[in-house]
Structure formats: structure tokens, C-alpha cells
């Protein structure tokens, strides 16, 4: 993990607090972003820049931990000694210092525009914060809005890269087409563009409202030997909807319309399904040693990012 020195920051040009970038990233956001970067930098002070310690299967020299074997893992890294003693299939994890490549994928589908406050706003702020922290640490950072019309700025290193990233993210709008793009397809498209780049970390910020489920997209990331981080965002009114009576429900992405009478039982069923969706996501991430964070759109982005760094292992 690399630490962003002051000289580097100065060489990278002006910080994000030099002025507002669009309406989404105002002065207040930029000040908080700078403050967040400083906080994280103090936490990681003393390490050589451009280096980040990651836990990977099979790479590196220093044993770090075990994780449960799942089908598809390379059997070469199975800890046979452990299997002989405990009959437990586990893979050996090694810590490796590397120059990290960070890709932040923000789901910009129509469903992300729902909620009060909108989930997309928090997702973009989190994406911007992760990118800025990564750039501050001289990591190789790329940002992609999945489902957006325009492609993101090319990945790069140095804090000066933050400005095009912020402009890009500020211009992201949910699509108007009435079709639900699969999260897996969007990730697949991103990976096809990324082909040839080094291994690294992919942070996927989404509501994971996908009929195919969340695991397909994350599994795709993982199979490309990328370390995945899942950030699931729900709006407060999605956790506890205030709908009552006879309604015509319209899906934000597909435009499909269905009549429904919202009764207490219907609300209970909804809550049960929503909880099951989150439970499945967390279970999958736990199985795959993927850091998973579930947040609500009313939470401040800096608190979310700080929590990710402090509790999610991003600080190494």
C-alpha cells in the first residue's frame, strides 16, 4: 500500500477543494473528501508509496490466512496439511506487496436513481472518494459508471486525475431506456475493456437489484483474478416503504407495470424478500472473502468510506 506524500500531492497539482465541480460535488463534498484523504493518509503513514499489501491466493511469500475452498479454486493452493488434520478444505492466502490497480464501478442504472436521497448520489460520492484516496496513495485508479452513456476517463495515477474523474461522475445520469441492463453484462463489458491491465481491486457500488442476483457480477470479477469489494446501497424508503392502498407499481428499469394492493401482509412479504436479497449477498461475499458493505443512501459518504477502510481491510 502506498502512502501519498505531501510532495506527491503537490506535484499532482491542486486538490479537489480548489473549487466545486458540478452540482453533485460541491465545496462541502470536496472539503470532506480532502479531510477523508488526510485521515486515511495518517493511518497508513510510514509505508513506502506505491505499495499496498494485498491478500491473494498463491502469490507472495508471507502466509496470511486461510479461507474456505469453493468450487473453481485452484487446487494447487489447497492446504493439504490442514485437510489431513482437520478434513477441512481451505486455501492458503499470502500477503503480497504490490502496486495496486483500483477500479471503481458505480452502478448507474435507473434503479440507483430511486430513493430519497437517491442512491446514485451516494454511490458516485463513494466512488469519487475511493478514487481520490487511491490517487492520493499513488495507486492506478479507474472509474466506470456502469450503464452510463459515456465511458469513464482512462485509468491513471496521481491526484491530478481526480478532476476528470469528478467531472465524469458529475455528468453521470441514469439511463432513460426502459430496460434492465444486467449487472453481470455491464461488468463483463468493463472487464473486456480492462483486458491486459494488471490485477487489482474492483469496488462495485450498486444496489444489486438484479433478477440474476448479485453473485454473477461479483463472480465474474473474482474469476478475472481481481479482488472485489461490494458496496450495497439501499434507500431508507426501500427498507421501510410507506406505500399503502391500491397502486400501480412501475419498475424503474424495465418500465413493467403491475397492479398491487399494498396491505400489511404485502409489506411484510416485501421486507422479507429484501432481507433475503441482502442476506444472500452477504453470504456469498463471506464465502468468497469479499468485503461487503451495506449502507443506506442517507449515510454520509465519508463515514461510509472511512468504515470501509477501517473495518473492511482496505488499509491492509
Amino acid at each position: 500500500m502506498s502512502a501519498a506524500g505531501d510532495s506527491t500531492a503537490g506535484a499532482a497539482g491542486a486538490g479537489p477543494a480548489d473549487g466545486p465541480i458540478g452540482s453533485r460535488f460541491d465545496d462541502r463534498f470536496l472539503r470532506k473528501l480532502e479531510s477523508l484523504a488526510l485521515t486515511i493518509r495518517r493511518t497508513t503513514a510510514g509505508r513506502s508509496h506505491g505499495m499496498r499489501r494485498s491478500r491473494r491466493v498463491g502469490a507472495g511469500l508471507e502466509f496470511a490466512d486461510h479461507r474456505d475452498y469453493v468450487p473453481g479454486d485452484d487446487l494447487r493452493y489447497l492446504d493439504w496439511n490442514l485437510y489431513g488434520r482437520l478434513e477441512r478444505r481451505a486455501l492458503r492466502l499470502y500477503e503480497e506487496d504490490e502496486d495496486l490497480s483500483i477500479d471503481v464501478l458505480v452502478d448507474a442504472s435507473a434503479s440507483m436513481a430511486m430513493g430519497r436521497p437517491a442512491k446514485l448520489d451516494l454511490a458516485l460520492q463513494i466512488g469519487a472518494a475511493l478514487a481520490y484516496v487511491g490517487l492520493s496513495n499513488l495507486d492506478h485508479v479507474g472509474v466506470t459508471a456502469l450503464g452510463a452513456e459515456a465511458a469513464g476517463p482512462p485509468p491513471g495515477r496521481g491526484k491530478a486525475r481526480i478532476l476528470p474523474i469528478l467531472r465524469y461522475l458529475d455528468a453521470v445520469r441514469p439511463p432513460h431506456r426502459a430496460s434492465r441492463p444486467s449487472l453481470e453484462a455491464a461488468v463483463r463489458e468493463f472487464l473486456s475493456r480492462r483486458r491486459g491491465r494488471r490485477r487489482g481491486l474492483v469496488a462495485l457500488v450498486s444496489d444489486f437489484y438484479d433478477p440474476a442476483g448479485a453473485r454473477a457480477a461479483l463472480e465474474l470479477v473474482r474469476r478475472n483474478r481481481l479482488e472485489a469489494i461490494a458496496v450495497q446501497i439501499s434507500a431508507p424508503d426501500e427498507l421501510a416503504p410507506q406505500l399503502r392502498g391500491d397502486l400501480q407499481l412501475c419498475d424503474a428499469e424495465t418500465g413493467e407495470v403491475r397492479d398491487l394492493t399494498i396491505s400489511p401482509r404485502a409489506l411484510a412479504d416485501y421486507a422479507q424478500r429484501h432481507a433475503a436479497l441482502l442476506r444472500e449477498l452477504r453470504g456469498y461475499c463471506r464465502e468468497r472473502a469479499i468485503s461487503c458493505f451495506t449502507v443506506t443512501s442517507e449515510q454520509p459518504f465519508d463515514a461510509v468510506v472511512l468504515r470501509m477502510f477501517r473495518t473492511g481491510g482496505l488499509l491492509g
Partner: protein
């Protein structure tokens, strides 16, 4: 929620609903409600992030659709049921009005006139005649149609409106229950004039008289008319079952001046029974019975009863009839007798225990002053300050010109009565009973038989002098009445007779005081006529009148009541409508119905 608006429209229109209109409204309303339910209402569109979270499994959704469809039709059935209930209530009301097709009573204005006079307190009906009248009035009110309005009034000597014009039977019943009995006579003409006045200008005016019919012939002589002179429709609902009453019609009493503790009482008792009656009459003074008399009365007989000399020291006396009859109000009469005025007496002379005893017997009704014999002239001069001056064995120097005096044994030049030619006295005079003037107030209730007198003077009678008692030609008791002057004299010294030993002596002194205190017209000043009862003899006649004629025209009975079922059906229909509304509301908010 559309059911609520529909109910309001239907209820608002049901006030003047005919059967045909009800059928049209029913068909149109049912069609409208069905159309509203067949047309799918546009639902509020809500965009959600991920619709699959809201929708269950396809099978469950199909079941929910079926259930929703069933609830949809159930809601339609509820709406139609509610509409039908309200419509039935409205139509049933009209049917009730049309049930008695022979009688056109649509939109009547009724005044229910309840008699609350004294005779209505008779108990020949359950409770009383007034209670029966209230029940009868309630029946009349319950028989009104929805288009009628009624006012409850009551009358005795005056007429009173107990309510305004109402169509609500409950309010009218409360007004009927508030009619209170009275001990006044009933003034029918005044009550009818009152009813006619308040019915003026109202549609189809009708008066229903609820009474026992105890009115005078004068009250029944005039036909009822409204203020414009047009005939007034008056119906008569009789109450009362029998005539069983003996009434104490009047009580009069006066105190006897000569005896302040006694009263003279006169009563009038009448039987209103169709058979002979025997009743007891009791007179009470101070709560104690002082006289009891039993009377046998022929049917309808009126008896005047005089009780001349009752001992009744209390100022209040009461007369009451004993026995049982239907009307208790006329079985008692009370009178308060004013006290006698306090008289002033001046006694002149030496000690005389007999005279003092007689004066003491007058009690607190007299104020007594005393002067010695030497002050006889002074007493004569002060005579105008006293009701009576008694010269007991003394005579002033000159006969008085005015005043009221009682002389015992006057003598000398000052005697008011001149001596006779033969001046010598008479020894042992014998009182001649034939000479007694028993009707003179001085001798009232006096028994002077065999009075022994030792010696009497001889007086010559002047003009206007009366010898009330004499021994042959010798006057023994003399009375003189002249303008401004009354003089009574005993020609003998009572102390030289046995008169003071007899009861006649204090009575003679009391009579002298009463005679002296009479005014110049001769009326007995202390007597009073008081205590006449306030009862009207007509009210004691409890004979019920089944058929009443006013102005020679027999009053018709009230219209028979309308079919009561309509109120019941209407109430149930409205209750059902309310229940359906409640159920619809509850199910709507609980999302049972679509």
C-alpha cells in the same frame, strides 16, 4: 369511499320520494354503482426500484388476483346492498303514509291539546286521567306520517305550548311527558283559540283534544273557528272511565267575637256519584279533629253544612272528607282565620274579683287599664280612647255624651239613667223571663234564669232605652244606643247578686264588649268570611264525556294511527345501511376490498 357520497345523495333525495321516483332512482342508482365497479378505477402509479421485490411467486400472484376479484365483487355487493337499504327505508316511509288511502293526511299540522285541569287528576285511569291522556297523545304522535308536523300543548285555565312544531316523535314524546297536572279549571275556549292562533297559516290544521270533557255548557256552545273565521278541524280523544267523586266545594269560617276560641264554619259538599254516597266530614284545628260529621248524600246532591260553634283556637282550620273516591284534590279544604282585633277596656272602681275574672277570660284579645273610683270623671273624659269603659259601682259626676260604657249599679246625679219617680229600691226583684230580649247582642247565649238579686234601683227609661231584662216594671238590664253613645247598665250591684257566680256573668261582659265594639251599621266587626276553597265545582264533577260536541257539532275521533311498521323498517334499513357503511369502511382501510 364512493359509497359515502352515494349514500349522501340518496339520503338527501329520499325526503320527498314517491314510489315511482324510488323505482327510477333505484334502477339508475344500481346501474351507476355497477358501472362504477365495472370500470376499473385508475390507480396511483408508483415507480419502484425493483418490482420483483414486491411481487411474489407467480402462483401466489394469481391467487391474489382471484381474491382481489372476489373482493371487488364483494365490494360491489356491499354498495348495492347499502343503496337498496337506504332506498327501502325511503320507500317504506312513503308506503306507510299511503297505507290508509281513504284518509289524506299528507302534510298535516297537528296541535295535540292535552287537558291538565283539576279533574284530570282523577285516578279512575291507570295512574291518572292525565297519565292516560299522555299515553293517548303518544299513540297519536306515533301514528303520524313522516310529512306531518305536530305541536304539543296543554291547558287548564291557560294554554301552554310544550313544544314547537316537530316531526321527531321522540321530542314530541318528551314534551308530552312534561305536561304537569294543575288544580285549575279547564278553559276550553281559550285553549282552542290558542291552538287556532298557532295553526294559522300552517297546512292542513288539525287540533286533537285529549280530555275528559268536563267543560261548562258555555264552553261548548261555540263552534271552533280559526282566526280567519273558518271552521277548525277539532278531534276529540276522550279519557276517563267513571264518575266516582264526592267533593268539598267550599269552606268558610269566622271567629265568634264573644268567644275568641270559637269559630263558625260553613261547608258545601257535593256527591258526583251516580249512586248514594256516605262520607265523613272532619274539621281540624291545629292538627286536631274538633268536629266530625257523617253525611249521606243522594246521587248528585249538594249539601250545605254549618257548624256554628267549633272550638278552634288555632288560626288555621282544615276540613276534609273521609272515604275513597277518584279525585283526592277536592277532599280537603283549608282556611286561615284572621285574629280578632285587640280591644281596650278601662275598668273604674274598687277591687272586684268577679269582674276581674270575667275580664281575664277575654284573654289576650283585650288590653285592660284600671282607674280608681275617685278618677271616674277622668275616665269619662278618656272614654274615646277605649272600646269599653266599665264603671263598677261608681258613677262619674255627669253622664257622658259619647263613648261606650257599661255601668254596674249607676247612682247619683251623674247616672245616665234618671231615677224613677218612686225612688226607693226594689228588694229581691224577680227576673221575668218574658222580659228578656234574647236576640239582643248583650244577651247572646246568656242564661239568666233564676238569677237572685238582693236589691235593684229603679230607673226611668229615656228615648231609645231598652230594658233587656226586667222584674216586672223594674228594668234590671238596660241598653241605650244613640249616635256616638252606647251605654249598658245593670240596675243592681252584681256583688249583691249571684250573677257573678254564674257562667252568664263573663259572657255578659264579653257580649257587652262585642256590642260596644260593633260599628254603627250593626255588623259584627270581628267576624270574618274567609277560607272559601279555590276549587271549581265543575272540576269535581269527574263524569267522563265520551262524545263531545262543540257548537252543536260532535267532534270526530282522531285519525287512526298509520302503520307502525314503516318506522321500524326504516330504522332497520338505516341501521343496516350504517352497518354496511361501517363494514365497507373497515374493509377498505384494512384492504379487504379493492
Amino acid at each position: 369511499m364512493e359509497l359515502h357520497g352515494l349514500a349522501q345523495v340518496i339520503e338527501g333525495a329520499s325526503g320527498a320520494l314517491s314510489t315511482t321516483a324510488a323505482a327510477v332512482i333505484g334502477a339508475a342508482g344500481a346501474a351507476a354503482i355497477t358501472a362504477l365497479y365495472l370500470l376499473r378505477l385508475r390507480r396511483r402509479r408508483v415507480v419502484v426500484a425493483f418490482a420483483p421485490l414486491w411481487l411474489g411467486a407467480p402462483g401466489a400472484e394469481r391467487a391474489a388476483r382471484r381474491t382481489r376479484r372476489v373482493r371487488h365483487w364483494l365490494s360491489l355487493a356491499l354498495a348495492l346492498g347499502l343503496f337498496a337499504a337506504i332506498l327501502i327505508g325511503a320507500v317504506d316511509s312513503q308506503r306507510g303514509a299511503l297505507d290508509h288511502g281513504a284518509i289524506d293526511r299528507s302534510g298535516r299540522s297537528l296541535v295535540v291539546l292535552i287537558d291538565r285541569s283539576a279533574s284530570m287528576s282523577a285516578t279512575d285511569e291507570a295512574g291518572s286521567r292525565l297519565a292516560a291522556a299522555r299515553r293517548r297523545a303518544d299513540e297519536i304522535i306515533a301514528g303520524l306520517t313522516g310529512a306531518d308536523s305536530a305541536l304539543v300543548a296543554s291547558f287548564a285555565a291557560d294554554a301552554t305550548a310544550e313544544s314547537g312544531f316537530e316531526s321527531d316523535p321522540r321530542r314530541l314524546s318528551r314534551a308530552i311527558a312534561g305536561v304537569a297536572p294543575s288544580d285549575e279549571p279547564g278553559d276550553l275556549q281559550r285553549a282552542l283559540a290558542f291552538a287556532a292562533a298557532i295553526l294559522r297559516g300552517r297546512p292542513r290544521p288539525t287540533v286533537v283534544l285529549v280530555s275528559d270533557g268536563g267543560f261548562t255548557d258555555d264552553a261548548l256552545r261555540l263552534a271552533p273557528v280559526d282566526p280567519d273565521g273558518r271552521p277548525l278541524d277539532v278531534r276529540y280523544a276522550p279519557v276517563g272511565r267513571r264518575a266516582d267523586n264526592v267533593g268539598l266545594l267550599s269552606l268558610a269560617a269566622r271567629r265568634i267575637p264573644a268567644d275568641p276560641g270559637a269559630v263558625e264554619t260553613a261547608l258545601v259538599v257535593q256527591s258526583f256519584r251516580p249512586t248514594a254516597a256516605t262520607v265523613g266530614v272532619e274539621v281540624l284545628s291545629g292538627g286536631a279533629v274538633v268536629e266530625k260529621v257523617e253525611l249521606s248524600l243522594a246521587p248528585g246532591e249538594r249539601r250545605r253544612l254549618t257548624l256554628p260553634n267549633l272550638f278552634a283556637p288555632d288560626a288555621r282550620i282544615e276540613a276534609r272528607l273521609t272515604g275513597t273516591d277518584d279525585l283526592a284534590d277536592d277532599d280537603r279544604a283549608r282556611a286561615t282565620i284572621p285574629p280578632l282585633p285587640r280591644r281596650r277596656i278601662l275598668r273604674v272602681g274598687g277591687p272586684d274579683l268577679y269582674l276581674d275574672g270575667a275580664l281575664l277570660g277575654l284573654g289576650r284579645t283585650v288590653h285592660l287599664d284600671r282607674l280608681a273610683a275617685a278618677d271616674a270623671d277622668q275616665a269619662a273624659a278618656r272614654a274615646r280612647d277605649y272600646d269599653l269603659v266599665i264603671f263598677d259601682g261608681v258613677t262619674p259626676s255627669a253622664p257622658p255624651k259619647s263613648g261606650r260604657f257599661l255601668y254596674f249599679d249607676p247612682q247619683g246625679p251623674g247616672s245616665p239613667f234618671a231615677p224613677a219617680r218612686e225612688a226607693r229600691t226594689v228588694r229581691n226583684p224577680v227576673l221575668d223571663p218574658a222580659s228578656l230580649h234574647r236576640d239582643h247582642p248583650l244577651l247572646r247565649q246568656l242564661d239568666l234564669t233564676d238569677v237572685n238579686v238582693a236589691e235593684a234601683r229603679r230607673f226611668a227609661l229615656g228615648p231609645g232605652d231598652v230594658a233587656l231584662a226586667a222584674s216586672f216594671d223594674v228594668p234590671l238590664i238596660i241598653a241605650r244606643e244613640r249616635p256616638g253613645l252606647r251605654v249598658a247598665a245593670l240596675a243592681f250591684d252584681p256583688r249583691r247578686s249571684d250573677l257573678p257566680m254564674r257562667p252568664a256573668f263573663p259572657l255578659l261582659v264579653a257580649n257587652a264588649l262585642a256590642w260596644a265594639a260593633r260599628d254603627d251599621a250593626g255588623a259584627p266587626a270581628p267576624s270574618v268570611d274567609t277560607g272559601a276553597t279555590v276549587r271549581d265545582a265543575r272540576e269535581s264533577d269527574t263524569t267522563p264525556v265520551r262524545t263531545l260536541a262543540l257548537g252543536g257539532q260532535v267532534l270526530a275521533p282522531p285519525d287512526p294511527p298509520t302503520r307502525h311498521s314503516h318506522g321500524r323498517f326504516r330504522s332497520w334499513a338505516l341501521i343496516l345501511a350504517a352497518a354496511l357503511l361501517l363494514f365497507e369502511w373497515f374493509s377498505y382501510h384494512r384492504r379487504w376490498t379493492t
